[in-house]
Amino acid sequence: MQMTETNSKLKSMVTYIVLICLSAFVLVPILWMVSTAIKTEAETFSLPLRWIPENPSLQAFKRIIVEYPFGTQLLNSFINATASTVATLICATLAGYGITRFNFKGKKVFMSFLLVSQMFPAVMLLVPFYTILRRFNLINSHAGIVFVFISMSLSFSTWMMSSFFNDIPRSLDEAATIDGCSRFQVFYKVIMPLTLPGMISVAIYAFIMGWNDFLFSSTLITQDKMKTLTVGIAEFSGQYNVLWNDLMAASIVASIPLIILFAFLQKYFISGMTAGAVKQ
């Protein structure tokens, strides 16, 4: 008895030590970003390095809005990510319901195509997208980039939604039909509200995809006033003198919306990440 008790104490000690070490591995870069962002420019380039700045200030945050186009870029990121999320969510929800509630020709092909489309290297579609968007004059437009984001997140979202719809018993559909609901009412008023958690997960997934995109946003947008935050941050480094405190402040601003979302909706993040994977 004594033995097992010390044994389990030792075990949980080891657990904590490993957790703390790996948390440090995660936290060091993040905290260094924060520490740099509240330093003055002179202090980012002074040795020895300090974790706690001598004169912490929020000037960098003010500067990135006033002196750099980050305000516009932030807005562009929001517009692109939100619009593509809404469109993806509508399509994926409808399709998820259609797949699980109806039999139709080509359903299998459709489903397996959803999976295969996950395998295309994003870069592979880059050149075709470029030519297509150019032909329709959609380079440097929100619409163009939103279409591209939809195509990137839609297949996995549809796959996720159909797994969520699958969990809702078909007897509910029947009961609602008997109660006099039309086909669409069954979907819209009865079944869809029950998949709300799934819809939130899909929305989060699509939003992250759009918000974090760099490849497409950096290639299909060339005009400064249409650029997004992730691109703006990366292009900072192309300039000769990088002001790391300003850059890190911008990095924080680019990460904050997702961290806030995460803080409130943690459980949906996780079910979004794991949907389909665990249920197979």
Partner: protein, 295 residues
């Protein structure tokens, strides 16, 4: 008669629901793919020059050493990164599955890298690895591990290590969370029965945990392999494929061929070869897992 009518109606409705998705899939994936195939048989800058060359792009790529070294580099990168994700993910999912104090706190911290945008991560690592004022060099020097600043991103092998580290940092939470969800869906009765039979921790792990997790591991492995094989952003922002070709992954190769050398045909051809490789890998892995499952 009636049943037939209902069936017919159902057909139409089903199509209606998938129509928007189908529209986007055809317009934004199938059509672009076809377009990519078409472009891959031309020598073109997309503006003036459109010379049909048939399979010449493919042939010149497949007979060129540079392509193979880029593929090999990508394979090495992918294997190391995915292995890193699984080692960390495996350890952490087991630890986070324990019911001890503060576990929610650790989980929240450990997921953070997944949420932070890739280009931001690349910039943070660039700053950490800054030769003169970077935290890494200064820390190593203060412990006298190195005597003078190392230019991490200026040296081929160091740059590769740096890029791999950043990508492991970014990607392990996804595997961790997937495995954790898998662990939590294992029926606890199995472990209790094993306890009664006097099974040790390791035996329980081999005979209960691993077999139960097989499906999750398979899905996570496939997704992660595909995801990182075609990875672009972190590496591009950190090193642009350099120095030399030290971190020139295949995605970066495609990008450079297309948008730096304006050989869109060759770029598209590489993209299509890469897709074929990914598809074959997935097919083989599916086979492998099925054979295993039949045991």
């Amino acid at each position: 008669m009636d049943i037939n009518l209902i069936k017919k109606k159902r057909f139409n409705h089903g199509y209606l629901y998938i129509l928007p998705t189908l529209f986007f899939m055809v317009g934004l994936i199938i059509y672009p793919l076809g377009r990519g195939l078409y472009i891959s048989s031309y020598k073109t800058d997309l503006i003036k020059r459109w010379d049909f060359v048939g399979l010449e792009n493919y042939i010149s790529i497949l007979t060129n050493k540079q392509f193979y070294s880029s593929i090999l580099l990508t394979v090495r990168f992918t294997i190391i990164v995915v292995a890193g994700h699984f080692i960390l993910g495996f350890i952490l999912s087991h630890l986070l599955n324990k019911k001890i104090k503060g576990i929610a706190f650790f989980r929240a911290i450990l997921i953070l890298p997944w949420i932070i945008p890739e280009s931001v991560i690349a910039m943070i690592f660039k700053w950490l690895l800054n030769p003169l004022y970077g935290l890494v060099n200064q820390t190593l020097m203060s412990f006298s591990i190195i005597s003078e600043p190392v230019s991490w991103l200026g040296n081929g092998s160091f740059a590769f290590v740096a890029v791999v580290m950043a990508c492991i940092w970014k990607g392990f939470p996804m595997i961790m969370v997937m495995l954790l969800a898998g662990l939590q869906s294992i029926n606890q009765d199995l472990y209790e029965a094993a306890d009664i039979d006097g099974a040790t921790g390791i035996r329980k792990f081999i005979h209960i945990t691993i077999p139960s997790l097989k499906g999750v591991i398979y899905t996570a492995l496939i997704l992660d392999l595909i995801w990182w094989f075609k990875h672009y952003t972190i590496v591009w922002v950190l090193t642009q494929g350099g120095p030399g070709a030290a971190t020139s992954l295949i995605s970066i190769d495609i990008y450079k061929r297309s948008f730096e050398y304006f050989e869109f045909g060759a770029g598209s051809a590489v993209a299509i070869i890469v897709f074929t490789i990914i598809y074959v890998i997935k097919f083989l892995m599916e086979r492998g897992f099925k054979i295993n499952a039949d045991d």
